[in-house]
């Protein structure tokens, strides 16, 4: 526990010191970065310590009503602390390079909020008191908001920030209601008494569940509460996007899991709600990711997809548990938990890569890239590895979590008779469809951005990023590979987290041996590739390597404009696969006459959940609220009258109830 306090102290002091006015720019940068790195190293130490020595708790009184500084690092908390501190650490090193040539007048500001975000996320995860949890949650939301609007001179960044602020606070309001309800029903806001929630009548418990699904789901980016996510991620600096996508959205899932751990019995329909939202998000997210031409927006939608898969797994865990199918429940929970870690690793890697491309070529638009692999070899290699991981391709780590989820579905669908066996198999087909579409999205991303010819002159002058940016990406690539080839390394942390969630011995040893084989299979493909390369070298030693231009099928003057664009790549899928709600708005672009003049094509892909669902609802409520303007007349006398009236009413209330 002491190590954790050290970590928080360093983060806070370093962040505040970097904020000090008049500090030399270079000094503030070094101070901010070093304090974040040191804080995260201490934090990782604290986490490993608690994983080794069992849970640690700490208690200190606090004057806030219902609150207490009550902290605890158990298996579940440690499971989430690792990715937060790890990505915080790598993000700090990356950010040092990324922000090197930023023209901001106060470089300390972003470091202060960065440190504060790490601090508040870890405080949320370790808090064992509702009030402390909410305070930390609010600090987390606000510090990430200030990070998102770092580049606030651009209007789209301000819009994204406002949307994020709205979403996070509407979610926060649900959480306030949740803790108010849970605290009243249990008699205290201490998590140690929250186990009384298990004895609640079904209606109260289900109301609480809906509140927490809304509250935590909006932070995690659960469909259809995800609308802020694809806007905020492109707006934020890339290392912040990585931290938000890799760690912060997971804090939402942590909250969900922590609260679910208090309910020992859960009705199956809770799981169904999570599955519907999760699978809807997975399909919607990956479909939207396919139509975005903004690299970071596309990655943001891919996060929506992955969060959907995690919620899907957790929902299936609840269902299988309610049906008494222990093995399927354990497999689903293991899959969901592993996917949390794996997604943290590969998505932060991808965001780092996207940031490196933005840094090197100056654009986030896929159509302004092309051929970057040659100019940015390390970034390109790590991005390809990240794309393989997100596509769940062996030998990378993405497959491990999904393998467990598929196993859970087969396990429960392979035996049950009748309708009970029907649903898991439908879900399996849909999950396979999502898996196929991920390949579509990420071959597009790699193919259009990194391969082929430059689509724009800015891509021809792109430069590779410096070592502070490349080193974290290489570390993450290595971790993705290791987690893919040796999945059993994660057995300990997963079992520790599972113990908190009511599965003391999460999985039989047999299942982990199968997972070990899965990893060995991943190793086998590396081995096989190596062998094919060597044998080919031996057999074709005499062969020379010449180079020529790409064969244009006889066409003499091929140009880069003839190769595929980001939009063209998904045209076939849009026509053949997608439902109409995912199709982008396209106008113009038709050349009709014999000698057509120049034509323009507009292609825009908007989030229909935002434009068709939220915009009308909010416009309508704004309309209704405008009627309240009569109350707000702007006359000082009237306000004095309100204050007077409120005082009288309060006095009367106190007199009535106390007297």
């Amino acid at each position: 526990m002491n190590l954790l306090f050290w970590s928080w102290g360093i983060l806070l002091v370093g962040g505040l010191a970097a904020l000090f006015p008049g500090l030399p720019r270079q000094f503030a940068r070094w101070l901010g970065c070093c304090s974040a790195v040191a804080g995260c190293i201490f934090g990782l130490g604290a986490t490993i310590d608690s994983l080794g020595h069992g849970p640690a708790t700490y208690m200190y009184p606090w004057t806030v009503p219902g609150g207490a500084v009550s902290l605890s690092i158990d298996g579940l908390a440690a499971f989430f602390l690792v990715p937060i501190f790890l990505i915080g650490l790598l993000g700090a090193i990356y950010g040092f390079g990324y922000l090197a040539d930023s023209s901001s007048r106060t470089p300390g500001k972003i470091w202060f909020f960065y440190n504060l975000l790490i601090l508040s996320m870890t405080l949320v995860v370790t808090a064992a008191n509702g009030m402390l949890f909410l305070v930390a949650w609010e600090v987390m939301s606000l510090s990430s908001f200030f990070l998102v609007i770092d580049d606030h001179k651009q209007s789209e960044v301000r819009r994204a920030g406002l949307l994020y602020l709205l979403a996070t606070h509407l979610g926060g309001a649900c959480l306030f209601a949740f803790f108010l309800g849970a605290g009243t029903l249990c008699g205290s806001l201490e998590f140690s008494v929250f186990s009384r929630l298990a004895t609640l009548p079904p209606i109260a418990a289900s109301t609480l569940f809906c509140l927490m699904l809304l509250g935590f789901g909006s932070k995690a980016g659960l469909f259809p509460l995800h609308v802020w996510l694809p806007e905020a991620h492109p707006a934020a600096p890339s290392h912040v996007s990585a931290l938000m996508s890799g760690a912060m959205v997971k804090v939402g899932i942590y909250g969900m899991l922590r609260m679910l751990s208090f309910f020992s019995v859960t009705p199956a329909w809770w799981g169904w709600l999570m599955i519907v939202a999760g699978l809807g998000g997975a399909l919607f997210g990956i479909g939207m990711a396919a139509t975005q031409s903004d690299l970071k927006r596309s990655l943001g939608y891919s996060t929506v997809e992955n969060i959907g898969i995690i919620f899907f797994a957790l929902g299936f865990w609840l269902i299988a548990r309610a049906e008494g199918h222990t093995l399927a429940a354990s497999l689903a929970l293991t899959g969901g938990l592993l996917h949390i870690w794996n997604h943290a690793l590969f998505k932060s890697l991808l965001f780092f890569g996207a940031g490196s491309i933005l840094h090197g070529s100056g654009s986030r638009n896929l159509n302004r890239m092309g051929g970057l692999l040659g100019r940015m070899p390390v970034t390109g290699l790590t991005l390809v590895a990240g794309a393989m991981a997100v596509g769940a391709l062996p030998p990378m780590n993405g497959l491990v979590g999904e393998w467990f989820i598929y196993r859970a579905l087969i396990e429960s669908g392979g035996e049950a008779q009748g309708m009970a066996g029907f649903y898991p198999l439908v879900l399996m087909g849909l999950l396979a469809l999502v898996g196929g579409m991920v390949i579509l999205v990420f071959t597009r991303l790699i193919g259009i951005a990194l391969l082929g010819q430059p689509h724009h002159h800015s891509a021809t002058t792109a430069h590779e990023s410096g070592w502070p940016m490349l080193a974290p990406m290489m570390v993450l690539t290595g971790l993705c590979l290791v987690a893919g080839v040796l999945p059993t390394l994660l057995m300990g942390p997963v079992a520790a987290a599972g113990a908190i969630l009511g599965h003391p011995l999460l999985l039989p040893r047999k299942e982990w041996i199968s997972a070990m084989w899965l990893g060995l299979g991943g190793g086998g493909i590396i081995l096989m590739i190596g062998m094919v390369v060597i044998v080919t070298k031996i057999f074709s030693r005499k062969g020379s390597v010449g180079s020529a231009s790409t064969w244009g099928c006889g066409f003499q003057v091929p140009t880069f404009r003839m190769s595929y664009s980001a939009e063209g790549y998904v045209e076939l899928a849009q026509k053949g696969l997608f439902c109409s709600c995912l199709r982008p708005q396209i106008s113009g672009g038709r050349a009709i006459s014999l000698f057509p003049g120049p034509a323009e094509l507009f292609h825009r892909s908007t989030d229909l959940v935002l434009t068709r669902l939220y915009h009308p609802v909010f416009a309508r409520s704004a309309d209704l609220c405008s009627r309240l303007r009569r109350v707000q007349a702007g006359i000082v006398h009237l306000y004095l009258f309100y204050i007077f009236l409120a005082t009288i009413l309060l006095l009367g209330w106190v007199a009535h109830f106390q007297g």
């Binding site: 390809v384 071959t443 193919g447 082929g452 096989m528 010449g546 099928c553």
Partner: protein, 303 residues
């Protein structure tokens, strides 16, 4: 295990190119031509490995990785599958998922290698390959699920094991349906008519062949060899489904398996001869239909 490994590799390396020869010969017979010899692909491969490589100036290391992975994936995937009487070399609970995702790995690199050339033709092939595979993957999963339910095993070697004979008696209808679906998947995955035409390089409705336009020399050899092995792997599943019984003698069974594979190659040749390639936009419809059909066979089992 070593013996099984050797037999697997022997079958893969020796038999795979022959299947392509049988298909070609069947098509030639239908067209009234003599056609190329059965062993033509062996000569082609030998010649390709002696040649030099010409690569496009726009390409990167991805371009040369594609063919290598195109061969490495079938080599590894085959080891998880029983070849007739020769049991799987490796197997673990849930290896069917690994099997499916291994082919996704090959697809990822074939498509990116095609995009690496910057050619619009090869981009077209890549787009079609990854788009259609979105619809093939659920079908493949449903097919495997039927076998999981029938055999009660989560390994490919158990699913294509001796329990298949009993399954034909208890759930023949489901097996016939998935047999049809598996044949469709085999034709799609191996770029055969009516989904793709392996002979017309320049046709704009091409899928697989157009992706490898720029590969030459040993790289092209790797691709052709890998494609032949992939056909053998899917064929092995089909043959095992059709001929699940054992004749009692290992070598007789092995002969039966090989004859079955050759017969399947002949069947593919016949299909290619008597059918025309589908219109491009019809392909997703047919694939969705196949998905539904395979799902129907799952429902038949659930009742």
């Amino acid at each position: 295990m070593i013996l099984r490994l050797l037999l697997h590799l022997l079958l893969l390396f020796m038999l795979a190119p022959l299947l392509a020869g049988i298909i070609g010969k069947t098509k030639a017979t239908f067209a009234g031509r003599t056609g190329v010899p059965f062993f033509q692909l062996y000569w082609d491969l030998g010649k390709l490995f002696k040649k030099g490589v010409v690569i496009s100036r726009t390409t990167s290391w991805i371009f040369r990785t594609g063919p290598v992975i195109g061969l490495a994936v079938p080599l590894l995937a085959a080891l998880f599958l029983p070849f007739g009487p020769v049991g799987a070399v490796f197997s673990f609970n849930g290896d069917l998922i690994f099997f499916v995702y291994l082919f996704a790995l090959a697809r990822f690199f074939t498509a990116t290698a095609a995009l690496d050339t910057g050619s619009s033709f090869e981009g077209m092939g890549a787009v079609r390959e990854v788009t259609f595979s979105c619809l093939v993957e659920p079908t493949l999963f449903f097919i495997l699920i039927v076998l999981v339910r029938l055999s009660g095993s989560l390994t490919l070697s158990g699913m294509f094991g001796p329990t298949l004979v009993a399954s034909w008696h208890s759930a023949g209808a489901s097996l016939i349906i998935i047999l049809v679906c598996l044949l469709v998947v085999t034709l799609v995955e191996n770029c055969r008519i009516p989904f793709d035409d392996p002979n017309t390089h320049l046709e704009l409705t091409m899928i697989h062949e157009v992706m490898v336009l720029d590969h030459s020399g040993p790289d092209l050899g790797l691709i052709l060899y890998g494609a032949a092995m992939k056909l053998l792997i899917f064929g092995a599943m089909l043959v095992r489904l059709i001929l699940p019984f054992s004749l009692g003698n290992f070598w007789l069974d092995l002969m039966l398996f090989i004859v079955g594979l050759c017969g399947l190659a002949g069947l593919i040749g016949v299909i290619e001869s008597i059918m025309a390639r589908l219109q491009l936009l019809r392909i997703p419809q047919l694939l969705i239909g196949t998905s539904l059909l395979s799902f129907f066979s799952v429902i038949l089992l659930l009742r």
